[in-house]
Amino acid sequence: MVSQSTTPSVPVAGVAERDRPGAGERVREAVVRSWRPVALLVACLLAWWAITAAKLIKAYLVPSPAKTLQVMGDKTGYLWHHTWVTTYETLLGFVIATVVGVLAAVVMVYSSAVERTLYPVLLFAQVIPKVAIAPLLVVWLGFGLAPKVVVAVLIAFFPVVISMVTGLKAVDPEMIQLSATMGAGPLQTFAKIRFPASLPHLFSGLKVAVTLAVTGAVVGEFVGANEGLGYVIQQANGNLDTPMLFAGLLVMSLIGVVLFVLVEFAEKLLLPWHASRRGTAVTTTY
């Protein structure tokens, strides 16, 4: 783009239209983007159906898709209740992990003494298998909500801290120096430069964290619970009720997918500048 200093008020070609594609175009774009994963999913379901229909595997080991769906239809209320319990534990764990993780990252980035102290502890906490400490948490905290949320927090915390620390450190040092020449204090620099600049990193961590939080909640439920999808799966396992087991698994994955998509949606909403930079086709390429 050559400068136009002699002829002011040049229209910014394409910017306005690009930001507002028509509804039809948007639907077409969505289809173009998503047909491959949808096709893969359909193929997997077909394979599942084919294997069970041909009786390659005994029905009590792998139930047919139809049987699984039927269970989901028959026991909707039951599944719905336990899904909600697991979702609640997951969300609570995710939110706590996010708040605490972001705060910890900020403190660590601003104080190297804190960073040197906390980093090894964090790493140690991360490498302990959560499955192994879940029973201990049940002993300490009982059968209620608490141990599930704690496991979810423990498992989701690490990616949040790491991504936020990376984001806060990745800020252009020249931008920080510029801020100093503007007379900005540390708080202003943080609020207007460092924090917003770190958000793309944070969101990539949040996407990992939210899926891990589901795992955390379910692990907590496995160890000792009387509700939640982990409990449903354990009960089904004990009764050799594989259709219910599969239904539980399916719903559980669905929670993860939906939460992931929600975080991605929040990212697009909060960081439109970042999403548009990674850009869905600014111009068409060959």
Binding site: M1, V2, S3, Q4, S5, T6, P8, S9, V10, P11, V12, V15, D172, E174, M175, Q177, L178, S179, A180, T181, M182, G183, A184, Q188, K192, I193, P196, A197, L271, W273, H274, S276, R277
Partner: protein, 264 residues
């Protein structure tokens, strides 16, 4: 504290400045025996081989770095920390990607808590002055390199700083855009009468824009020579290039730097 330095009229003054960086592996002397006096309203260009301490020199003036020895004065006052009475432009525009061009310029006003209507007025002036009209609401990724650098220049000029520090501001631009911005910078300098320190790799750019050119030696950076360009302040691009003063200045710089580093 700020004694009026009217006798010097000095805008920027360095006395026997040295800067040593101590890293774990080795000590680097970036600058040695640097003394420099820049008058108010003067345009001084700084050229020299890569790594000779040009950026370090600007950071000293801005108070972003502390000299290992010697003193740095800005407008008569010793520099003891980051100075707010300057404008700074880096080679990379260093724009915030989540802010439009206008709001990137306004960052300067927000940080300084300038009155909002004054800031808006001044932004509009600068946008017109630098030919950004029509691009106010564009985001950095929608702007060309030249446009981004114009935004950075507006941001640096918003608070009408008495001293403007520019560190290879046009280094990443194509030759044509660079020439255009040189012409605009000359005009802005004449209109605002700001003291300018410009670090550049381009010998032509230095000679076209500056009253004086500081030529530096390879590390540890010292001042090899100060060249008076002797051209009038108002400079038409093509005719300036053809003048003997321009040829003298560029020729002398090439002699000093050697042919190897003279390519730009």
């Amino acid at each position: 504290m700020a004694e009026q330095d009217a006798s010097h009229g000095g805008s920027v003054r360095l006395e026997d400045v040295a800067v040593r960086f101590r890293t774990r592996k080795k000590d680097v002397t970036a600058l040695r025996d640097v003394s420099l006096d820049v008058a108010e309203g003067e345009f001084v260009a700084i050229v020299g081989p890569s790594g000779c301490g040009k950026s370090t020199l600007l950071k000293l003036v801005a108070g972003l770095l502390k000299p290992s020895s010697g003193t740095v004065r800005l407008r008569g006052e010793p520099v003891t920390g980051p100075r707010h009475d300057i404008g700074y432009v880096f080679q990379r525009a260093a724009l915030l990607e989540w802010r439009s061009a206008r709001r990137n310029i306004l960052l300067q006003a927000e940080m300084r808590r300038m009155p909002a209507d004054r800031a808006r007025e001044r932004t509009a002036e600068l946008i017109a002055m630098t030919g950004l009209t029509g691009f106010e609401d564009a985001y950095p990724h929608e702007l060309s390199g030249g446009m981004q650098q114009r935004v950075a220049l507006c941001r640096a000029l918003l608070h009408e700083p008495p001293v403007l520090l520019m560190d290879e501001p046009f280094g990443a631009l194509d030759a044509l855009t660079r020439e255009q911005l040189n012409v605009e910078l000359n005009r802005i300098w004449r209109e605002t009468r700001t003291t300018v320190l410009l670090v550049t790799h381009s010998i032509a750019e230095a000679a076209y824009l500056a009253n004086r050119i500081i030529v530096m030696t390879d590390r540890p950076g010292t001042i090899a020579e100060v060249i008076d360009v002797g051209l009038p302040d108002e400079r038409d691009y093509a005719t300036t290039m053809a003048r003997p003063e321009f040829a003298d200045a560029t020729g002398r710089i090439r002699d000093l730097l050697g042919a190897a580093s003279a390519a730009d």
